[in-house]
Each structure stands twice: as C-alpha cells, then as structure tokens.
C-alpha cells in the first residue's frame, strides 16, 4: 500500500509538472510534409530562429503516398511538396489553396523557365522547390561500355543485374520512351505495348526498388538502374565506379513544388516558410545537401561562381528540349496504369 501511494504521488507530481509546461504560451507551429532526404535539416531550426515559428517536419516517399495521406484526411499539413503531375491532380481535385505572392517576395528569384509550366499554368498554387531529371545509373566497373540508352534496362546481357522503378508512372515512362511514344500518352494500345515490354523485362529484373537503390547501387549489387540524377551523387559516395547518363531517347524532367493544401491551419506561416526556402541562402544550402537542381537564379549563379555546378543536373537547352514533363493523366488512364501495374507485380 505504501508503495502504491508513492507511485500515486509520483504520478501526480509528473502530471502537475506537465500541466505547468503546457500552460506556457503555445508556440506557433508550421506543419511541413516533404520527401525524405530532401532538405538541409539545419534550415528548419534556422527558420525557427528567425521567425519563432516551430517547424513540425514529416516526410513521405512517393507522390501517391502524399496524395493518399491528404485524401484520407487524417493529417493536417501547412506546406507540402508534390511533383508536377501531382500538383496538377491536386489542383484539379480542389485540394490546394491559391498562394498570396505578396507574402513570398523571393518568388521573383525563380527561373522564368520554371514558371507557368503545364501543371500550374497561371502560377497560382505552387512555388518550385527543386527540379531534376530521371537518368540511367550504371556501374562502370562491370560494364564494358557506358550505356547511353534505356534499352540497357531490357538487355539480356545484364539479366539479374537490372534494377527497376517500383512505381508505375516512372516505370511505364521508361518503356514508353524505348518504344518512342510520348510519356504522357493516353492511347491505350501504346500503354499496353509498354506493359508488354515491362512484362518481358520482368525476368531480367533483379529487384523493383525505390529508396533501396541507394544500398544496392552503392554496394555494387546491380549494373544498371534508373533513378533521379540528384540522388546519384549520394550513391557515388559509396561506390565511385558509378556513372550516370541522360538516355538518348527521352526521359522525364520533373519539378517538385511547394504548395499549401486546403486543410492548412496556418497559411501565413506556410507562406513565410515557402519564402524562407526561396531565399538564396536556404536554396544554396539545399542544393549542396540534396544534389537536385535549383530553380533559383541567384543560387545557380552562386554555385557557378563557386564552381560547384554538376553539369548533368543542368543540361543544355538542346537536351532539355527532348525531355518531357509529366502531366496529370485522365482518370481512365490512371486506372489503366494501376490495373496493369498490379498485374505486372502479381505475375509470379
């Protein structure tokens, strides 16, 4: 009994001290939902220091996961960073708030070529965070010649040493590129042809991966893998034999953009956060930490001046012209993608 009352006293004391803490002025909070490994983590603390707003930072791994989190309504975020086609889908489904650009003066620094893109033609809902390209990563120590085409991923000589995207949009884009079709095609027979190609490729594939690609390419497990060029630099730290090319057919170039969802509770803080991320200092630190291409002109100039530009991240205009940006597909096409993808994955 004595023990029990001791416990009780302790519990009460803890409860009392907790209530003391919570009775303090609650700090203003901005809830941010970003991709994993996609920021210089110190920047959040820096933002809090400058504004007094606490950053509650969470991460996700795919656009689809972001979409389902927002759609299921379980969470409330103030800033999210979907990619182009997902921005378009969210705009279409009325999930985003229009931004007040007077609160985001740093928007002026965004490269004009990254404004008014197809996904947000009137620049109402999004501010580019980074952009990038899907490239073909290969291990030079195990290939006789550097591949320059997506066909390497379908080449029997690499059987068992091929990694492939574990998401339908990116995987289909590669098959469509090999077949010479547009990456945004809605033509069912073209998509089915791409499916047939992926099905044929399946026995050659070692594994379907997303983030696991870092371990596998870094550890020399596979010879060729498609992935986002920005992440190549991280893999190269583990495996200096790795090289990357922009395949000669075409490939996807994407923009990840900061948006404010309808469910946001603190729009002003969200806009402050977006503005902060567009400052030269934040953009520069992010570019160094993340390795993706920056949409900020001043950051590009600074990288150039410091000789820190990776050419592959900023291809010339001629190369850029043959790359394709994903647009949001109509629901029928999305459904077809989902069905074919599930079929491809279930096929044992």
């Amino acid at each position: 009994m004595k023990k029990f009352s001791k416990c009780l006293a302790l519990t009460l004391a803890t409860a009392a001290s907790l209530s003391l803490v919570s009775s303090c002025q609650p700090a203003e909070v901005v809830n941010v939902f970003n991709w994993g490994e996609y920021i210089d983590e110190d920047l959040n603390a820096e933002f809090t220091k400058q504004t007094g707003i606490v950053v509650n930072y969470k991460t996700y791994t795919t656009n689809e996961m972001l979409y389902s989190t927002m759609k299921s309504g379980g969470a409330s975020y103030d800033v999210i960073i979907p990619s182009d086609y997902m921005v378009a889908r969210m705009i279409e489904e009325d999930m985003l708030l229009p931004l007040d650009f007077t609160n985001i003066p740093n928007y002026n620094d965004i490269d004009p070529s990254k404004k008014g893109l197809l996904y947000d033609p009137d620049n109402e809902y999004s501010v580019p965070y980074t952009w990038g390209i899907v490239g073909l990563i290969y291990d030079a120590s195990t290939t006789s010649e550097a591949p320059d085409s997506w066909t390497a991923l379908f080449d029997k000589q690499y059987a068992g040493n091929i990694l492939m995207f574990d998401n339908p949009r990116d995987a289909f884009a590669i098959a469509l590129a090999v077949l010479g079709y547009g990456l945004n095609t809605t033509n069912e027979s073209e998509i089915r042809e791409a499916y047939a190609l992926l099905k044929e490729q399946r026995p050659l594939v070692q594994a379907y991966v997303m983030d696991q690609v870092f371990d596998k390419m870094g550890g020399g497990e596979a010879v060729v893998a498609p992935y986002y060029v920005g992440d190549y630099f991280l893999m190269r730290e583990d495996n200096p034999n790795l090289g990357v090319v922009i395949p000669k057919e075409t490939t996807n170039t994407f923009v990840d953009a900061m948006c404010i969802p309808k469910s946001a509770k603190n729009k002003t803080a969200a806009e402050q956060y977006i503005n902060f991320m567009c400052s030269t200092d934040s953009g520069y630190r992010n570019a160094i930490a993340v390795g993706y291409s920056t949409p900020l002109v001043s950051v590009y100039e600074k990288l150039k001046a410091n000789d820190e530009l990776e050419d592959i991240c900023y291809p010339d205009d001629e190369t850029m012209a043959r790359l394709e940006v994903f647009i949001n597909l109509p629901p029928e096409t999305r459904k077809l993608y989902d069905e074919l993808w599930a079929e491809l994955m279930i096929d044992n």
Partner: protein, 220 residues
C-alpha cells in the same frame, strides 16, 4: 498471390515451430538464471525496430553482402538468396520467431515435474514420455505460437518488398498499395482486407478445434 502469401506464411510458421520447440524444451529445463539470460538475449533484438532489422537482413543477404563475403572467405562460394521467396520466408522466421518461442517456453516452464516422474515410474522411456505427456500438455502454447506467427506472416508487407525485391507481391503488399502505394483505391484495399480477415478467422477457428475444442488458454 493468395496462394503465395499462405504458402510462405505456412513455411515460416512450420520453420519457426521446428526451431522453437527444441530450444524452448532445452531452455525450460535449465536453471532460472540461465533462463533469464536467455530471455534477455531473446528480447534485446526486439528493441530494434522491425523495419531496421529487415533492412539489416537485406545487407546481410545481398549478393555482395556480409554472408557471401564470409562464405567466399571460407572458400565455400556465393549463395544467391536475396530477391527470392526463401529470403522472404527467412525474414518472416527471423521477425516472428519470438512469438513462437515465448508461448511454448511459458507452457513448458509451468509443466508439473511430478507428471514426468509419474510417467517414468509407470515405465515410459524418454521418447514415450515426451510424446504422451510433454507434447500434449504443451499444445496450447504451440497453438497460440502458431497463431501468433501465422497471422502476422500472412499479412506482412515490408519484408517481401525489401528481401523479395518487390517481385514476390504478397497480400499485405497489395493492401498497402491500395492505401499508401501506387494505386489509391481504398475500396479494393478494404475488400481484400476483409477477405483476408475472414480467411484468417477460419484458420484460427480450425486451429482452435484441433486444440481440444478450444481451451481458453490456447488463443489469447
């Protein structure tokens, strides 16, 4: 895919049982000190997150991973396990082994020693005592172990993605895909979940029947 999920869960459960029973039997006859050391050793890895442990297995089993490096050093040569069903089954066995071991161990520890003495008094040898006395009395533990391994194995999802290279899609992966993954379709996801729940309930019901008409100790 239903078949693959149930087949792999069945293998995992069977292997867990085969590994756990002898260990539990031996440990239950040790001194309390040895038993508590064993319990600590068993529990410590469980403090690490399940996902991290599975990632660790991925690094161990890779073609150029730790296991193969060791085998090459020993002059045995490489084995290729990663991205196969065997790797997925191994992941399940590793992650769910304690759920089989603990219930069996608990039952065996509580076994009344005088019953064993009575058995040998009546002329039964060791094997006979085990088959006629120890094993039947430990059945409730075995059954709850089987349930506790089979049910999470059949619905597991991350293991097949990490160790199976995403090529062995299991039921859990299909459900995950509908909610968080590449195809947002909660309706299909819910439907598959319910079908799976029914199948699992039927399995549990059947197992309960085996356990002498469902003694209350056998399940939860």
């Amino acid at each position: 895919m239903f078949a693959a999920s149930f087949r792999l869960a069945f293998y995992a459960t069977a292997i867990c049982l085969l590994i756990s029973y002898p260990i539990a039997y031996v440990v239950s006859r040790e001194t309390p000190q040895v038993q508590s050391v064993f319990m600590v050793l068993l529990m410590v890895p469980m403090w690490i997150n399940f996902l991290l442990r599975t990632y660790a297995w991925m690094s161990i089993l890779e073609n150029n991973g730790l296991l193969n490096k060791l085998l090459v050093l020993l002059g045995i040569g490489k084995v290729s396990i990663i991205n196969t069903e065997a790797a997925v089954a191994l992941g399940m066995v590793y992650n769910y082994l304690p759920f089989m071991l603990l219930p069996i161990l608990t039952v065996l520890q509580k076994l009344d020693r005088s019953l064993l003495e009575a058995s040998s008094d009546l002329g039964a040898n060791g094997v006979r005592t085990f088959l006629r006395v120890v094993f039947p009395l430990s059945l409730p533990g075995v059954l709850s172990g089987v349930t506790m391994v089979f049910v999470p194995s059949v619905s597991t999802f991350v293991i097949s993605k990490l160790l199976g290279g995403g090529k062995t899609l299991l039921l859990g992966d299909l459900i995950e895909m509908q909610f968080l993954g590449n195809a947002y379709n909660p309706y299909i996801g819910s439907a598959v979940s319910i079908v799976m729940m029914l199948i699992v309930l039927v399995c549990m019901f059947v197992m309960n029947k085996f356990g002498d008409g469902g003694e209350e100790t056998s399940m939860f």
